[in-house]
Subunit: 452 residues, 2 copies
């Protein structure tokens, strides 16, 4: 037995929370899950580990991947065949391809797990973080209503958080690519470079965009057109649609028809149209989107980047199967959202316990009574705990309840117990009341229901 | 874009479930969480990753540890400073030591996470699996009631599963060690070897134990005494206590007093005494237990090993702090329990969706009506989904609901909608009824509440 003490320190970029903050993270995860299940998405979980060849199949940045090596196992030293997943998309594609014959399509899945990425140190970036994805995967075909389901589900979840205004930006990849082609820019490489410049628009100034385009040799009217296209994001949705409908180019019109349909159906589902911004300039950097694109920003915190993004691909699992699986997907960046949540003043970030009642222990000879009360509380479904600290000083016990923000405490000494009563202390207000032992469970239930 | 297809295969020993089985795992995890929170345990989560020096501090088998290496990053090639945790105990000890000044003691935590261990291939062993731990950590002292809290919490959770008989075996480390010393065996090495033999008793035959003892040179009366001690596990609890109280040795008596107290308090909390087996022969292989020891077996499935074990240590975090932190702990082996759960015939292992209602789509011109019904269902908190498959053939849509075991389907064509009605199909029975659109939500709610 070594007596050396290893001073424990946090590991940078691997977030770990206090019990108070973890409680808030858990509530966030619960809300997301509830919203996903309400819309009929079923949960799957894949191992943290995939074959390395699977992870790099899509051309991922392999410098970001953590492989697994057994410690001190010489014979295995050169083995990096297994690695931690860096997102939930690749594992999902592998899962669907592998289980194609057993799954029911359209397959609606949600998946909430941690992912790992070696990223350069940067604010708001972590090397371990939560993603919360939903997907609808079709077999062969998938109607546009799937795009709407994903959109309204996300909207529902975000609205439950009830603490910020947010905007879901909608676009269709066909519009942005078609628009660039309609200007006579045909070279794939060039289309891709201009797409990237347009996508930067919300973050950079107009002049900056002009300059970037000049650098590519794009000048004059075409330069003006692109800037005008970018600036549409600040217009009313109806104006954007009107503007886009005038771009006489088949690819753009195909995209506009899809965008219009998704927008209309979302409104049919009573989605608040103010929460949708039709923004032809968003592209997402991923080359494989083929239709709808989503990005979500917190109003006044656009600098944080998109907290929820996704889109439609025509072919989810082309690396793993020859089946054609169209796919609509969106992912909430839980860890990034949590960072913001914890800065909200409205939240009580002090609650350290799920307990609603602390049963104190005044005299050991009443131990059985205390245990009985505890048991009855729990039988009624009220989270509660017995004070387990050293000694029986009541001040220390109530101090414990205070520190953990437990809302009620039950105190019972000889006076109370001889009358078959207890004292019920309201820890937040300091109020106290006498209640008979048999009724204390019901009284607490009433008080808790009033709190909500 | 590569066109090579990588055939996806499962990775051995890293379990992954179908959506149906994942649903059952999730329910199991939810029940465990609910039981833990009911008893006032607060959740914490630590990163999957710890410093390697932290993980090996307790003398863990380092061959079981997976370290992290960046793929293809030459400059980092020799860096194995970070590794995946192989249990939740070491991270917990590190967490408590690191946050000693911010936590409120006694600190009650629960933690449900995956852990990773390179284990040799063996039935029922995984390299990635869930653990679900609770702990109560005292600062300086911790009363025996903590041992009872942990015991009754586990009992509560297991009883909710409601599908097996189980027995929680209780012992106290002082009894088994004291007993061996009382026979005149003093050498630490020898005490440890005999402890291991006694601990094997439930798995091996009496004769086998005798032989193992003979091999250590333990014969005659001492050999008989040890076998008799082992066999007590099959006696009534009261007989066991009576037998133990006659062993006139201070260490044993200290242990018996603690065991008796834990047993009495558990009964005060109305715990069914038939679910407790006082078993002086269990030892747990971990050297650091100092008091109460728990093991749990499913009746008729003892060969599975303990599905829930733990105990009391005098000093949780001696590697990370000089504070004395006594600690009671227990861990449910979720993955092992799940393996058994999935073999239970009582369970419906076919449900592939949280949806309670499938809204079918008969005619696209009624799309808005279908969306409205869907929206109202969800607003009422009823998980539901719109059929998103290709085409509108009703047989295919109902087939989808059948395959996913969605209990109700709403069907509405011209006939129904012209009367402002829908057809509500009971998928499990084939029954159908006509309900007005405005009342269908309430009708479904009534039906769902009757199901329970």
């Amino acid at each position: 037995m070594s007596e050396t003490i290893i001073t424990p320190r946090p590991i940078s970029w691997f977030p770990e929370h206090s019990p108070e903050n973890r409680r808030i993270e858990l509530e966030l995860l619960d809300n997301i899950r509830r919203g996903y299940e309400l819309a009929g998405f079923t949960n799957i979980e894949t191992p943290a580990v995939e074959r390395t060849e699977v992870l790099i199949s899509k051309g991922a940045d392999d410098k970001e991947i953590y492989t697994l090596w057994r410690l001190n196992a010489e014979d295995w030293e050169k083995d990096d065949r297994l690695a931690l997943h860096f997102d939930l998309t690749v594992p999902m594609a592998r899962y669907v391809a592998q289980r194609y014959n057993d799954l029911t399509f359209p397959f609606r899945r949600y998946q909430i797990q941690k992912v790992w990425r070696w990223e350069r140190a940067q604010w708001g970036r972590y090397r371990e973080f939560y993603q919360a994805d939903i997907d609808i995967v079709g077999d062969g075909k998938l109607p546009l209503s799937a795009d709407v389901e994903v959109l309204t589900t996300i909207d529902n979840v975000l609205s439950w958080l009830n603490i910020w205004d947010y905007t879901i930006r909608l676009n269709n990849r066909k519009i942005i690519v078609g628009f660039i082609q309609s200007l006579g820019i045909q070279d794939d490489q060039m289309v891709s470079q201009v797409t990237r410049i347009i996508d930067k628009m919300p973050k950079v100034w107009e002049l900056e965009v002009r300059k970037l385009l000049w650098n590519l040799g794009i000048e004059g009217e075409v330069n003006d057109d692109i800037v005008a296209f970018c600036l549409m994001a600040s217009q009313w949705n109806e104006s954007v649609l009107e503007y886009l409908s005038k771009i006489n180019f088949p690819e753009v019109q195909a995209g506009v028809a899809e965008l219009q349909e998704v927008y209309n159906q979302a409104k049919m589902l009573w989605m608040d149209e103010k929460r949708i911004t039709l923004d032809p300039s968003i592209a997402r950097w991923l080359w494989y989107y083929t239709g709808t694109i989503y990005e979500t920003f917190l109003k006044g915190h656009e600098w944080l980047g998109s907290i929820c993004s996704g889109g439609r691909y025509d072919n989810l699992a082309s690396y793993f199967t020859d089946k054609k699986l169209p796919w609509v997907w969106v992912s909430i960046g839980v860890s990034r959202l949590l960072t913001r949540l914890l800065e909200q003043e409205k939240l009580n970030t002090k609650i350290q316990s799920p307990s609603k009642v602390l049963v104190t222990r005044l005299q050991e000879r009443y131990a059985e009574t205390y245990l009985r009360i505890l048991w009855e509380l729990r039988k009624s479904g009220i989270p509660s705990e017995l004070y387990l600290g050293d000694g029986v000083k009541i001040g220390k016990q109530l101090g414990y309840a205070n520190k953990k923000w437990i809302p009620y405490a039950i105190v019972a000494g000889e006076d109370e117990i001889s009358q078959n009563k207890v004292q019920l202390k309201h820890m937040y207000t300091g109020d106290r009341e006498q209640v008979s032992i048999d009724q204390v469970m019901d009284r607490v239930k009433v008080l808790l229901s009033q709190e909500k």
